[in-house]
């Protein structure tokens, strides 16, 4: 049956796991910036994305995650690849001076630059997804919420009820595995009533999905109702200040990691802003 383990916390012990969650969130966000900004030439773009990807793989390896689990999570992207290729081939893109850089399919011009563009988008998605995967696989949902809570806390001065927001986020995260379990259980129950979730024509598929969704909603509503009651019975009051069982500590290695990540991204930003092209600067190559 379907594998829902993607994006789930995997309890190993490694320095990536031990990193401060606030730092991890910070790192993810600024790395995203580095991934999505534009670099002067496509060679530079691919080089930098390559470096970031290698960096991600190092993280992945340090966190003792398997490369195959990454591949499995990325395997859903094939649809994106086809989609991107079709779009970029149909909507030609070329910059000045590159008008003749194409090949023909029949008598339809496919510009190499379009393919490079499509490749860029795809590469960015891959790096971004792998990074997020590292974050969710190495951080306990609760630690993640604590981190988010810390970032949200300045909003309190604007009257935003941040403790409630944090509670909502942590409950939502907390219930992801429970709901996935529910999905499995209902899938099995309906399968034993003869529902086939994998085969069959579109109408049968639709019926199959309905038979999954409705019980799922019902049990989720019942669950949240019961949870709310249980919380109230135990004296939960959203308006009072909550103390924390786990306190986040920023340690010296966190500082080191902070500096490394910031330096990498700062380097990327510098290249972006100055339009520095290493290939022409060092080797005098000028690629299209």
């Amino acid at each position: 049956m379907a594998n829902f383990t993607m994006g789930r916390y995997v309890p190993y012990d490694s320095w990536v796991h031990r990193m401060d969650p606030r730092l991890k969130i910070y790192a993810l966000i600024i790395m995203m910036v580095a991934i999505f900004i534009n670099y002067p030439t496509w060679t530079m773009t691919y080089t930098i994305l390559g470096i970031l990807f290698v960096f991600t793989l190092i993280l992945l390896w340090s966190a003792r995650m398997k490369f195959t689990s990454l591949l499995k999570s990325l395997s859903g992207l094939w649809f994106m690849v086809v989609f991107l290729l079709v779009i970029y081939i149909l909507v030609p893109r070329y910059s000045e001076g590159n008008e003749d850089w194409y090949f023909l399919i029949g008598n339809f011009k496919v510009y190499w630059e379009s393919l490079l563009e499509a490749g860029k988008v795809f590469f960015r998605l891959v790096v971004m997804l792998s990074l997020s995967l590292v974050l969710t696989a190495t951080t306990k949902p609760l630690a993640l919420t604590d981190g988010l809570d810390w970032y949200l806390s300045p909003l309190r001065w604007l009257g935003v009820p941040t403790p409630i927001l944090a509670m909502i986020i942590s409950l939502a995260l907390r219930f992801i595995p429970t709901i996935l379990e529910d999905v499995q259980r209902i899938l099995k129950a309906q399968s034993s009533r003869g529902v086939d979730f994998k085969h069959g024509h579109i109408f049968a598929k639709f019926r199959a999905i309905i038979s999954l969704i409705i019980p799922l909603f019902v049990s989720s509503f019942i669950r949240s109702d019961e949870l709310a009651n249980a919380m109230e019975c135990r004296g939960y009051d959203p308006s009072t200040k909550r103390t924390k069982y786990r306190k986040l500590h920023f340690r010296w290695w966190d500082l080191l990691e902070f500096v490394i990540v910031s330096a990498i991204v700062a380097g990327c930003l510098t290249i972006c802003i100055t339009g520095f092209d290493a290939y022409s600067f060092f080797w005098g190559l000028s690629l299209k």
Partner: protein, 310 residues
């Protein structure tokens, strides 16, 4: 259809930190047309075992054969090294017998013949009316709509829900009534093997008794009934054969009366109350034969016999 487990093992989430082995090397033959109880402590693997019969889970190694359907692991095992030609041929032959590819319609046919009522089946209800929900199973197995509704009505009446329930929404029912609807949903498909996981948990004693009596009737009509339970009183009263599970293994397969009188606390089980009562009488000096006491009637007869003899 007999069910035969052969050296079956099952691991949840293999090759991950969540890996947990739930069934270990199970070999077991469940004869047809019997009332079979599966007992054992919480987490001993009962629910995992019965899901193998319905091909909802596939074994990690070994196989289970239900009639002519074999539920086998997804991957073929490697051939062990150092076999001579004859053994190689035998291995090949066995492999060809076990590892037949299943089409989706084969699996559907299996699930039509093997009905499984889950622990807490009330979570599977979803149609607007009780009647439609019960007819959902038969319709999936290709029964025409009118016939499906007819068998739904029959099944509902059998579990003790009368006409007034047919048009109600399943979500407005009480927990026990939902449970009955869910059981009816499987009965309506008239399976050859009926598997029920803790069907009486949460039912009132009268409803529990009715349900068990219904299962007995179904067995009498020629269906194999497999009951998963913690309640040894039920086992004593209804089962013809009992399988004791412990830690993912089958510890014992025997007739219920053979089981009673042993120390069952090692399996977190208790003797049926009536049997304990008989034992106590014996300890206090009444000379009665406690062998085979399964019901109040048996006990009464044993007491009368001992009075007549002594």
């Amino acid at each position: 259809m007999p069910i035969e487990f052969s050296r079956l093992s099952f691991v949840y989430n293999p090759k991950s930190p969540f890996q947990s082995s739930a069934l270990n090397d199970i070999s077991l033959l469940l004869p047809e047309k019997q009332f079979i109880a599966i007992v054992g402590r919480t987490g001993s693997g009962k629910s995992t075992l019965i899901q193998q019969i319905n091909a909802l889970l596939s074994p990690t190694s070994g196989y289970v054969q239900i009639g002519d359907f074999i539920n086998h692991p997804e991957k073929k095992p490697k051939r062990p090294k150092g076999l001579n030609d004859e053994e190689k041929a035998a291995f090949k032959k066995e492999e060809r017998r076990i590892y037949q590819k299943h089409k989706s319609k084969d699996i559907k046919a299996l699930r039509k013949r093997v009905g499984l009522v889950f622990q807490f089946p009330e979570y599977q209800l979803f149609e607007e009316t009780v009647e439609k929900d019960v007819a959902f199973g038969p319709k999936n197995f290709g029964v025409k709509k009118e016939d499906a509704i007819r068998s739904a009505h029959e099944a509902l009446l059998r579990v003790g829900l009368d006409e007034s329930f047919f048009q109600r929404s399943p979500f407005e029912l009480s927990g026990g009534e939902k449970r009955k609807v869910a059981i009816a949903g499987i009965l309506a498909t008239s399976p050859e093997i009926l598997i029920v996981d803790e069907p009486t948990a949460g039912l009132d004693p009268a409803a529990a008794k009715e349900t068990m009596e219904l299962f007995t009737k179904i067995r009498d009509a020629g269906t194999t009934v497999i009951l998963v339970t913690h309640d040894m009183d039920l086992v004593a009263t209804y089962a013809q054969m009992v399988v004791v599970m412990e830690n993912g293994r089958v510890e014992k397969t025997c007739a219920p009366s053979e089981l009673f009188g042993q120390d069952l606390t090692q399996y977190s089980l208790q003797n049926p109350r009536i049997f304990d009562f008989a034992l106590r009488l014996k300890q206090k000096g009444l000379t009665i034969d406690t062998e085979g006491i399964r019901s109040v009637n048996d006990l009464a007869e044993a007491i009368i016999r001992s009075k007549q003899n002594g």
